[in-house]
């Protein structure tokens, strides 16, 4: 890599760079060698950065008009919607932005699952990503509480009550979280504070996430280690910048569709009713992006075990680099894993669906089966598959299957070997 011996061309640039090597950093970021076969599933890192910045900017402007007080919060949100110039736009971008953020992060996570991006030497990138994901859920949950509608209030009540499942100290922790004996004004003000803080924590972790990424470099659809820089790489700028930019544009069309045409479809109508501590809405559901975990929580008939199962479902992801015993990264070369991957995708979608349905009868049964399969996938299938699966031979390089002139990797490899001999 060229970063270490980079010298700015201008005299002032050199003077500055000797004192603070920002230009070296900029040079590293533009020249950063990237695998040339990255497909569009790799553009979601950039899209997610865009989402984070969007949430911070719109959040900042909303905070100029929002009042974090139990008596005024609901009204101040309506004030933003009706009176503040472009308040409706900023709020709809912020509210739908949260959904877009999760849409992008789920694609990003499932891309990692398909191409084995979490495997050695990228475990730390993956774990930082999981921490970011957890913080995103915390931020989204607390953000949903701020409008102080019925779903805000009862969502906050249900989620904070999860902590009461902890033996002995649970009740004390819940009272501490609430700052009272129920969700009330002290809860709202602290949630607002934390909701404001978390995006900046995420921003810091994103820097670490990218830093850790730039040590081994990007994984790629073939999933093999490549030499950098080489025939297999292209510089980040302009190649990846343009590709990311185009994908971002497509993503923004979807984003704009929700903001301008169906701004409330992802929300819940009950949240336009002001919080009432005496009446629980008939059917409490979290936002769509939390539904799979909500389904897991409800599928366990015991309170403590339900909470444990739900948390494990998220935390198990952090152990994934060690649960997946296969040395082959990309599912392209793992015929069995590829099938289990799609079953897992279906399983999570089913969990999401039953999470939105009442927890009774057939739905409950489906939720239980799907929950069991979720854990089976990570705890049994993945560890076993690494030993039993017969994988397809890997190409020697990214260019190899292309320049080898054959779509069949095995043929290309044989050809390569004969050339070497």
């Amino acid at each position: 890599m060229s970063d270490h011996n980079y010298t700015p061309e201008t005299k002032i640039g050199k003077w500055f760079n000797d004192r603070l090597p920002l230009l070296t950093l900029a040079n590293h970021l533009t020249d950063y060698p990237t695998p040339k076969n990255l497909n569009y599933w790799w553009t979601f890192g950039g899209i997610l950065t865009f989402c984070l910045i969007t949430q911070i900017v719109t959040g900042l402007t909303l905070a100029m008009h929002y009042i974090a007080h139990a008596d005024m919060a609901f009204e101040s949100v309506e004030h933003i919607m009706r009176d503040v110039n472009y308040g409706w736009l900023i709020r709809y971008i912020h509210a739908n932005g949260a959904s877009m953020f999760f849409l992008a992060v789920y694609i990003h996570i499932f891309r990692s699952l398909f191409y084995g991006s979490y495997k050695s030497p990228r475990e730390i990138i993956w774990i930082i990503g999981i921490i970011i994901y957890l913080l995103m859920m915390a931020a989204a949950f607390m953000g949903y509480v701020l409008p102080w509608g019925q779903m805000s209030f009862w969502g906050a009540t249900v989620i904070t009550n999860l902590f009461s499942a902890i033996p002995l100290v649970g009740e004390g922790i819940v009272t501490w979280l609430w700052g009272g004996y129920s969700v009330d004004n002290p809860t709202l003000t602290r949630f607002f504070t934390l909701h404001y803080l978390i995006p900046f924590l995420i921003l810091g972790l994103v820097v670490l996430h990218i830093w850790a990424l730039h040590v081994p470099g990007n994984n790629n659809p073939v999933g093999i280690d490549i030499k950098k820089p080489s025939k297999d790489t292209v510089p980040f700028h302009p190649y990846i910048v343009i590709k990311d930019g185009f994908a971002l544009l497509m993503f923004m069309i979807v984003f704009a569709f929700f903001v301008f045409y169906t701004p409330n479809i992802l929300g819940h109508a009950d949240n336009y009713i002001e919080a009432d501590p005496l009446v629980t809405p008939a059917h409490i559901v979290p936002e769509w992006y939390l539904l799979p975990f909500y389904a897991i929580l409800r599928s366990v008939p015991d309170k403590l075990l339900g909470v444990v199962a739900m948390l494990s479902a998220i935390l198990i992801l952090a152990a994934l680099p060690w649960l997946d015993t296969s040395k082959i990264r990309s599912a392209v070369f793992r015929p069995l894993y590829r099938q289990f991957y799609w079953i897992l995708v279906a399983d999570v979608l089913i969990l999401g669906y039953v999470g939105a349905m009442p927890a009774e009868g057939l739905y409950l049964l489906i939720a239980r089966v799907a929950t069991a399969y979720y854990f089976l996938h990570f705890l049994v299938i993945l560890p076993f598959l690494g030993f039993r699966e017969k994988t397809i031979p890997l190409p020697l390089s990214i260019t190899d299957p292309v320049l080898g002139g054959s779509p069949n990797f095995a043929t290309a490899k044989n050809k390569e070997e004969s050339v070497i001999k």
């Binding site: 700052g179 629980t280 008939a282």
Partner: protein, 169 residues
């Protein structure tokens, strides 16, 4: 460094860490404790409710410490039903007599012990309460019978100030 003897410097390190830890703890605790219920929240400790206009078979809901409290004047059939339940049928065994000192009046926190929703009155498989959030069924004594809630609905501290007034808290 074959010989390991406690030196003056080791002692100084240990002592410094110990004092430092105490100092950090002394600063951290106020930061944590400030989140606990404050004096004004604790001051709202009790609520008095006039129940003179309640007929048997009626439930009212009042707010106490930000939480709903159910007050039900039970009918004779309901009292008989509540008393007839065998202890081994219950997930959280508690006699009706222990929950309602005056059997006609059931006073309890209207908070599902699962995740804190407000159960609905006169619903569910046991003609008591039913929590719509995650499907817990309570009987006419507010005891958990079916569903994910671990314990019976809590009975707060309360007393009859006079024949018509209940003081909760």
């Amino acid at each position: 460094m074959a010989e390991k003897k406690t030196k003056r410097r080791d002692f100084l390190f240990t002592a410094t860490y110990a004092v430092g830890a105490v100092g950090v703890g002394a600063v951290v605790w106020p930061m944590i404790d400030q989140m606990n219920p404050d004096a004004s929240v604790k001051a709202l400790a009790s609520t008095e409710v006039d129940v003179s206009s309640m007929d048997p078979g009626k439930t009212i809901t009042v707010l106490w410490r930000g939480k709903p409290v159910f007050i039900r004047r039970r009918t004779q059939e309901e009292i008989a039903e509540a008393k007839s339940v065998k202890m081994d049928e219950l997930k959280d065994p508690e006699k009706d007599e222990e929950r309602a000192k005056n059997p006609e009046w059931l006073v309890m926190l209207g908070v599902c012990t699962h995740l804190g929703c407000v159960p609905l009155d006169q619903k569910g498989d046991y003609n008591g309460w039913f929590c719509p959030c995650h499907g817990s069924h309570y009987d006419i004594s507010g005891r958990i019978r079916k569903g994910p809630a671990p314990t019976n609905m809590e009975v707060p501290k309360y007393e009859f100030v006079n024949a018509n007034t209940i003081k909760i808290g």
